[in-house]
Symmetry: C2
Subunit: 182 residues, 2 copies
C-alpha cells in the first residue's frame, strides 16, 4: 500500500517542530539511504534467491571471478568487500558447501587461506549478473545524469567515512593490489 504522503518528509517536519533543526536534514538523508537500500535489496533478492545466493555471497563470488588468479586470501576478500572477517568466513563456508568455491592453503604463507572460485561458481555468478543487470542495474530508477550525481555524492560519503583513500592513482593502486594476488 502506497502512502499518500512521504513519511521521511513528515519525520523531518517533526524534527524541526521539536527544535532539532540542525539535525533534520541529516536525519532525512540517512533515513532515505536506509530506505533506498531496502528497496534495492528487495529487487536484488528477488533475482538472487532463486539462484541460492544473497547479495553478500554474490559480491564475494564476483570479487574472486574478477581476480587475476580466481583466488584471493580471505583477509583481502574482507578488505575488498569492506565486511567483517566473520562475515567472510560465513559466506565462504556457505559458498564452499554449495560447491561454488574451495579453500586452499597459501603457497608460501601457512597462516593464510585462499578462496578459489570453481567453474560452477563462475557460471552461477555470470547467470546472476545477467539477471541483476536486466532487472535492477540497467534501470535503477533514475536517469543517467541523476545516477551519476548520486554515485558521486555517495562516493564523497564513502571517502569521508574512510572507506578508501582517494589518491587520484586508482590505476596504479589497483595494479599493485591485483599484482599481489597470490
Amino acid at each position: 500500500m502506497a502512502l499518500r504522503f512521504d513519511p521521511i518528509e513528515e519525520a523531518r517536519r517533526q524534527w524541526v517542530a521539536h527544535g532539532w533543526t540542525e539535525a533534520a536534514p541529516g536525519m532525512a538523508v540517512v533515513t532515505s539511504v536506509v530506505r533506498a537500500q531496502q528497496i534495492f535489496l528487495a529487487r536484488i533478492d528477488a533475482e538472487l534467491r532463486p539462484l541460492g545466493l544473497t547479495f553478500a555471497r554474490y559480491e564475494l563470488l564476483m570479487v574472486l571471478a574478477f581476480s587475476r588468479q580466481g583466488a584471493m586470501p580471505l583477509g583481502r576478500v574482507g578488505a575488498r568487500l569492506q565486511v567483517h572477517p566473520t562475515s567472510v568466513t560465513n559466506a565462504v563456508d556457505r559458498l564452499e558447501a554449495q560447491g561454488l568455491l574451495r579453500r586452499l592453503p597459501h603457497a608460501t604463507d601457512r597462516r593464510t587461506t585462499l578462496a578459489e572460485i570453481l567453474p560452477a561458481g563462475r557460471e552461477l555468478a555470470e547467470q546472476a549478473t545477467v539477471a541483476l543487470n536486466k532487472a535492477v542495474f540497467e534501470a535503477p530508477g533514475l536517469d543517467s545524469a541523476e545516477t551519476e550525481t548520486l554515485f558521486a555524492l555517495l562516493r564523497r560519503l564513502r571517502i569521508a567515512s574512510g572507506d578508501f583513500v582517494a589518491t587520484g592513482g586508482q590505476e596504479e593502486a589497483m595494479a599493485t593490489e591485483v599484482g599481489d594476488g597470490r
Copy 2:
C-alpha cells in the same frame, strides 16, 4: 584498513570490460547505496546498542511518539515504516518486553491491535534522538547543499519504487492520516 582504490569504481571498470556497459552505472550506484547504508547503520548502531535499541525499534518508537495519541494500529505502523507485518510484530514484542510500549485492543474494531508508547519509551526515544542527532544526523558527511541534493535524488528513487504517492498535498494527506489515529 582503508583501501588505496575505490572498490566500486573497480567493479564498474570490470563491468564495462565485460561488455555490461548499460548496467555499469546502475551497478555502481546500487552498490554505493548498499555501502552507504552499512556506513550509516554502523554509526547508528554504536549509539543505539548501549540503549538496548536497534534502528528499526527506534523508528517504531518515534512513529508512536509523534502520533497524536501516542498509539497506532500495528498495520498502520507497518505502512508508515514500510516494513513487513512480521517485522512489526517482532519489534513490538521486543519493545513490549522492554517495557517501552504496550499492546491495546482497539476501542471499536476488535480485529485491530494498537501499540501505545509508555513513558519509559518516550524517555528512551528522546535520549536516543539526542545521541543520534549529535553523533550522526548533525554531521552526515556531506555539506548542506550536497545533503539536500542527495535527499532529493533518493526521494525520486523512493517515488519511482512506489513508496508513496507524491500528490503535492503532503499537509492535507497527513492531516487525514493523523486525524484517524485511534
